[in-house]
Symmetry: C3
Subunit: 131 residues, 3 copies
């Protein structure tokens, strides 16, 4: 297995950062022809997902939905004030797995891989595994 | 790795299609004895999940819940009118990973693998990776 | 691939059980140096997730959110009375995938792996795949 750690700086409280280009570059630079690519986030208030990368409004609508449905203040017990971010991280998931064929990620036309920040801004990282 | 692409035609706006039999057939026809089976959807308004395959009412209840909680019209910015489907796809996830042992998927008694259509009817596809 | 089945007894209707120590022990006892660790739940009213393991209030807040947002009674069709648990299982997901490097799970400082019971108490199990 090939494992790469990528560092990333988020700039907002909540944002989706398109990391597709970075993941594709790793697949190419590692000369990885075929297998699975798993992207994993080692945080508990951030997630990884795949969704539309063409129209940036899609991501805004997703973040807007989360903002309305997972309230920032809701009589939470956790004293750090970021329980909403932990809940959003659970809903999003901590990894995605994408097939690789002929040296390329088998992504659909509209798909992009997103690092999902729910409690930024922070210095973050994610791991790309090729197997 | 063995990679298969399966085409599928959805018939409704929103429906879960049980693809368990198809995935099992691929495991058998590829003589795949042991490893992981990953099912991936290359779309941004569809997902893949595992849930009860015995009583079809379970899937109806899941779709009913989504219909109520992720509103079709909610002042979304995305002009295509399918932001709700993008949100449901994020919540569902784009892949599932199931162990394979002795040539069989290690699924629980009640589990089935579902292709989750949230913006149909459409011609769709999914990928089965065996590794 | 190395595949282990672990049995677990849940004690409450809904609870998150931290299984990180068990998963780490399997990685060590199998002398597994590098690859991916996939944890899979063969149930349809339970899930697997990764979230904060330091403050137990985080898990309580997640369960409290689910309790409020996915109603136990909501005119469901499924006659067994556990549709809410099936919905929560879908939202949570049936597996997590974590990289392993130098014989250790590449988990973040605050991350723990949780078995998520939504319809207990029951005798349950989960599978740990190392590949």
């Amino acid at each position: 297995m090939i494992l790469n750690r990528i560092n990333i700086r988020t700039e907002k409280k909540a944002e989706f950062i398109d990391i597709t280009t970075t993941v594709k570059k790793i697949v190419v630079s590692e000369n990885f022809a075929e297998g699975l690519c798993s992207v994993f986030v080692p945080h508990t208030t951030a997630g990884i997902t795949i969704n539309e990368a063409a129209d940036p409004d899609v991501v805004k609508d997703i973040l807007g939905h989360f903002e309305k449905k997972v309230l920032h203040n809701d009589n939470y017990l956790h004293a750090e004030g970021n329980s909403a971010a932990h809940i959003k991280a659970l809903i999003t998931g901590s990894s995605v797995t994408v097939p690789v064929k002929d040296g390329k990620l088998v992504l659909g036309t509209w798909q992009g891989i997103y690092f999902c920040e729910y409690d930024g801004p922070r210095s973050r990282s994610y791991f790309i595994s090729l197997i």
